[in-house]
């Protein structure tokens, strides 16, 4: 028997049980540790290939039910997602309030992102897309401040527009092809008509919303910046993998078709704009978490550009960058969480933390070097692959913009590092720092993430060797004149 659906079903069952355990803190704590360990095992229990829900496979030449498609690439993505989710769950248990709703919503989010990565059916994808958007808002509201409520409402208004339009796009594709299954649909959209253009247009709107590309970057940034530190870590992981799942669907449907070139250019432009807008806004910020959130947008732009190039190397580079990015950005957000335990997150009030916690500072520095693409960390490997992919299709301009954005990233990261850890402060502040503790579980998670950064930086083949086969299937080789 194929246990593939348990990847989604197990977290969902646990989430609903956790919801009933409100107030029972001890049970919540131990159950959460148990779930966090089981989550890492889950991606290994499925078998590769198509999975038909309810046994409704191919009837009369059509895939009649809902299908999942599982392969090594998706397995790697799910393993990384599971690692980050379980580390964040463990970190969350270090809080004073053992919060069952946090565990419930994180598990729901894990399940729906996993479902979106696996899905081979457009409407099923849309349903889980809606679940994840409510889950993200719920995780934001857990912090309970007025800003959180406001940015949640903004996110929902913008998100509802985009999600409704995306459903309209799915309706166009459904009317044109008569099916919702992506593998089947591919055979019916070889030639263009106005319906397919409509579907393509509205899918791009959904993509931009789900992954925080412009013009949705500001709402997404508010979402990350107003949650608690460890919650932002999992929120940005969700958005990156939504981007990967969505892009894989769009590429599987349209890549290589002649009428796709206009949309292809739009996707590239969205990626490049996200890259530049994210980094420019990050350079302007004075709040540490907002700075990190804008960097999350900027790196999402790298991922989107890599995937939108549409060549095998571009797809591999994009997904590898997504994996690297969730690792080091989660480390940075956990670092911000530890810092906020000491004294808020306003850069101009912090300073002098290096002697207080040198080991945390060192690990955060490693993550910062990784995000700015310095060898031997993992960010360097994937950014190098991205630049190679851009050069391979004869678009050196994109490679140049990538390098410029990398420089901007380095500048703002070093600015933040100086202002938090190195800037001299007076005696009183140091006494204040010493009176407050460090969350130990967060330091543990930070250590694991930093070591993953270094391991992936030295041996990138651990991940990339699994990515090439599916990328070769999806990718199309071409060269700009």
């Amino acid at each position: 028997m194929n246990y593939l659906p348990m990847i989604i079903i197990f977290p969902l069952i646990m989430a609903i049980i956790m919801n009933l355990l409100h107030g029972k803190e001890n049970i919540v704590k131990y159950l959460t540790f148990l779930i966090a360990i089981i989550l890492i095992i889950l991606p290994f229990i499925g078998q590769y290939g198509y999975y038909y829900f309810g046994g409704f496979g191919v009837i009369d030449g059509w895939v009649s039910g809902i299908a999942y498609y599982y392969n090594p690439l998706k397995q790697v993505v799910l393993v990384v997602l599971a690692i980050i989710a379980s580390l964040v769950l463990i970190t969350g248990m270090g809080e004073k309030l053992k919060n069952n709703m946090f565990v419930t919503l994180s598990l729901m989010g894990f399940a729906s992102v996993a479902a979106m990565v696996l899905a081979d059916d457009l409407f099923n994808f849309y349903v889980f897309f809606e679940i994840i958007s409510i889950v993200q808002v719920g995780l934001l509201f857990l912090s309970g401040t007025e800003e959180a409520y406001k940015s949640g409402l903004r996110y929902m208004i913008m998100g509802n527009i985009a999600a409704s339009l995306m459903l309209l796009g799915i309706a166009f594709l459904l009317a044109s092809t008569g099916t919702l299954n992506i593998t089947d649909m591919k055979n019916y959209i070889l030639s263009d008509n106005p319906m397919i253009f409509g579907g393509l247009l509205l899918l791009v709107v959904g993509l931009a919303y789900g992954s925080g590309l412009p013009p949705f970057h500001n709402v997404k940034v508010d979402l990350y910046a107003r949650s608690k530190g460890f919650i932002s870590a999992i929120l940005q992981t969700y958005s990156k993998f939504i981007l990967v799942g969505f892009m894989l669907i769009i590429l599987k449907l349209f890549n290589g078709l002649s009428y796709f070139s206009g949309t292809h250019a739009v996707l590239l432009a969205l990626g490049v704009l996200a890259m530049v807008f994210g980094v420019v806004m990050a350079l302007l910020q004075s709040d540490y978490k907002k700075l990190l959130s804008y960097h999350a947008i900027s790196q999402a732009g790298y991922v989107a550009t890599g995937l939108a190039l549409g060549t095998p190397l571009g797809i591999v580079a994009g997904i590898f960058h997504a994996i690297n990015h969730v690792i080091y950005k989660s480390a940075l957000f956990l670092g911000a969480y530890i810092v906020s335990h000491k004294k808020g997150s306003d850069l101009h009030k912090l300073g002098g933390l290096l002697p207080i916690m040198p080991s945390v500072a060192f690990m955060v520095l490693c993550a910062k070097l990784a995000i700015s693409g310095v060898p031997p960390f993992n960010g360097f490997q994937s950014k190098w692959m991205l630049a190679q992919a851009a050069m391979q299709v004869n678009m050196p301009e994109i490679a140049i913009i990538m390098i410029i954005v990398s420089i901007g990233t380095f500048v703002s990261m070093m600015k933040a590092f100086y202002l938090i850890y190195l800037k001299p402060v007076d005696e009183e502040t140091i006494k204040e720092y010493q009176s407050r503790g460090v969350p130990k579980l967060a330091v543990f998670s930070l250590f694991i993430l930093t070591s993953l950064c270094i391991i992936l930086g030295i041996y990138p083949e651990i991940v990339t060797k699994y990515l090439f086969s599916y990328a070769n299937e999806l990718g199309v080789s071409y060269c700009l004149k």
Partner: protein, 118 residues
């Protein structure tokens, strides 16, 4: 004119009215209502795709299968609409909840006041 095309155009107009309301009306509650109209427009598109000029998709024992298959409305889109209605309702519930909280603070529903830059 064909009924189906008219229905498609009508649903397109509903979508556009909904978008107009969200973009250009300065009231949180009206924006939420406009989002509902937008969603209903999309639902109408889905329903109209399933329109086949025939009967409801419930099979009576005395109708042969092949006749029924030609005449009946398409069940897939109706199922999708049922799913989507619940999704829309849930989104609306969450948005209304937040706007209640924010209304208690600001005593106004103007979105340019409540959701201004901060």
């Amino acid at each position: 004119m064909d009924f189906q095309i008219v229905s498609f155009i009508a649903s397109g107009i509903l979508v556009i009215i909904g978008l107009y309301g969200v973009f250009f009306v300065d009231n949180i509650l009206k924006k939420i209502i406009a989002l509902d109209i937008l969603g209903n427009g999309v639902n109408l598109v889905l329903i109209t795709i399933g329109y086949n000029g025939g009967t409801i998709p419930i099979k009576l024992p005395n109708v042969p299968v092949d006749v029924f298959a030609k005449k009946s409305a398409y069940p897939l889109t109706q199922a999708l609409v049922l799913t989507n209605i619940v999704i829309e309702a849930s989104m609306l519930a969450v948005m209304l909840g937040v706007s209640i909280i924010l209304y208690k603070k600001y005593k106004t529903l103007k979105s340019s006041v409540i959701l201004k830059e901060d």
